[in-house]
């Protein structure tokens, strides 16, 4: 079975480490916050100027001056700090964030990522995504393995305008956990009940399958 959005987030959460500063993108990445392991401390960075993002506010706590990068009202966690946008991107571009999780339309075997524009269709902009992929070393891309029409999103070469060049090393899809290395996709894990053949069929770029590929565990 392909992973649900929640399961993708749950698997990503296994990559968290105690004391990590983490930037979560909009969509599936946001859900990762729900699966931080018990007893582990992570600090969420919101690119609009908040380190230590808390949960959504109650109606009484609601504050128009306190939002996250998705423009949602939030609260501050204990030990949070507030800063301006230049400071926020100094953290991001200076490589101070330990883990970045973001979505994408496509990735390719050379670690290129396309996530911000579909010419003629969707032109909303990159927001902070280009800064995040250029500045972070430890990035996990989350996305569905293929489009609704069964077209692979793991390609030999991205077809859409790039968000970043040669910067993606890990991809977690609804079918597989994949590492990008030496111009190839390396299959690390598969979703429970999903066969290696199924994954290979939906991966357009070169896929390396070395030995027995374990199923993800939750």
């Amino acid at each position: 079975m392909a992973l649900s959005r929640e399961q993708i987030a749950q698997r990503v959460a296994q990559e968290l480490q105690d004391g990590y500063y983490v930037n979560l993108g909009i969509g599936i990445p946001t859900l990762v916050a729900n699966y931080v392991p018990e007893g582990m401390e992570v600090m969420l960075q919101s690119e609009n100027g908040l380190l230590g993002m808390g949960q959504f506010p109650t109606a009484e706590e609601l504050d128009a001056d306190l939002i996250n990068a998705g423009k949602q009202t939030v609260t501050m966690a204990t030990g949070a700090s507030i800063f301006d946008s230049a400071e926020s991107f100094a953290m991001i571009r200076g490589g101070h964030v330990d883990l970045t999780v973001l979505g994408a339309f496509e990735v390719d075997v050379n670690g290129n990522i396309a996530s911000y524009m579909i010419p003629g269709k969707l032109i909303k902009g990159m927001g902070g995504a280009m800064d995040l992929v250029a500045g972070a070393d430890n990035i996990i891309v989350t996305m569905t393995h293929a489009s609704k029409h069964g077209e692979s999103k793991l390609l030999t070469e991205c077809s859409l305008p790039l968000t970043g060049k040669g910067c993606i090393k890990k991809v977690l899809t609804d079918l597989a956990f994949i590492e990008i290395r030496d111009g190839k996709f390396h299959l690390l894990e598969r979703a429970p009940g999903v066969s290696v053949e199924e994954i290979a069929k939906l991966t357009q770029g070169e896929l390396v399958i070395a030995g027995d590929i374990p199923e993800m565990t939750f």
Partner: protein
């Protein structure tokens, strides 16, 4: 006005001197911390052909979006747009020029502009459409592109509190682009929720020193929320 007193008495006075085809840098992120009354004054003045530098362009009936129906914006430099229908219509029709700029690069363009730095190298955008036509250079084996800074004819800023000398304090994430915008205007206009006397703010707690501020006005704010998300108390 005398000495360091930056307070003006009307929004008309606050935006005096803004003329067609000028560049205006605006603080704010989404609808959070936007100078909503200064934007309304630009709409009232009817100034046209403006180049707007702002992370976003508001929504249809609030924030910078209200400058769209009368075609007051010629060009916008932003990182994320399209939260409003009229914006998309004008962009698709080629009536509005849009320069999409990565958010960190946009913040740095303002910061550098205000600090007298004409350009800077960044890895952000290398190998993407953002890099087109820009100088590229390697440092320590890594590729960078040259980005030019931005200075505005006007900067419009929203802060929480100020003293009459224009020392500013921002509140929570309404800070965002406002401090950089404040440094990057030839004329920087700030609107705040409360003005106090010099000496009442703790010098250690000031986010933006008054040297960057030319005009200051106290206003009342709607502070509209774009995505109202709450949890039930029971859920904890």
């Amino acid at each position: 006005m005398a000495g360091f007193d930056k307070v003006v008495s009307s929004y008309e006075e606050a935006m005096a001197g803004l003329t067609d085809d000028m560049t205006v840098i605006a603080g704010g992120f989404g609808l959070c911390g936007i100078p909503e009354n200064l934007i309304a004054e630009i709409k009232r003045k009817g100034t046209k052909g403006l180049t707007l530098v702002s992370n976003n362009c508001g929504v249809d009936d609030f924030g910078l979006g209200i400058l769209l129906p009368n075609r007051q914006i010629k060009k916008i430099i932003a990182s994320y747009v399209g939260e409003n229908a009229e914006f998309e219509r004008q962009m698709m029709a080629g009536e509005l020029e849009v320069e999409l700029t990565p958010q960190g690069t946009l913040a740095e363009k303002m910061r550098a502009g205000g600090a007298g730095i004409p350009a800077f190298f960044t890895a952000t955008g290398y190998g993407t459409p953002v890099a087109e036509g820009k100088e590229e250079r390697q440092f320590n084996g890594r590729d960078y592109i040259l980005e030019e800074s931005i200075v505005g004819d006007f900067a419009i800023v929203k802060a929480w509190k100020a003293d009459r000398y224009g020392n500013l304090v921002f509140r929570k994430t309404a800070r965002n682009f406002n401090p950089m915008a404040a440094t990057a205007g030839k004329i920087t206009v700030v609107e705040v929720e409360e003005i106090v006397e010099p000496g009442e703010l703790d010098p250690d707690q000031i986010h933006t020193p008054g040297i960057y501020v030319d005009r200051l006005i106290q206003g009342t704010f709607e502070k509209r929320i774009e995505q109202r998300t709450t949890r039930n108390e029971a859920q904890g």
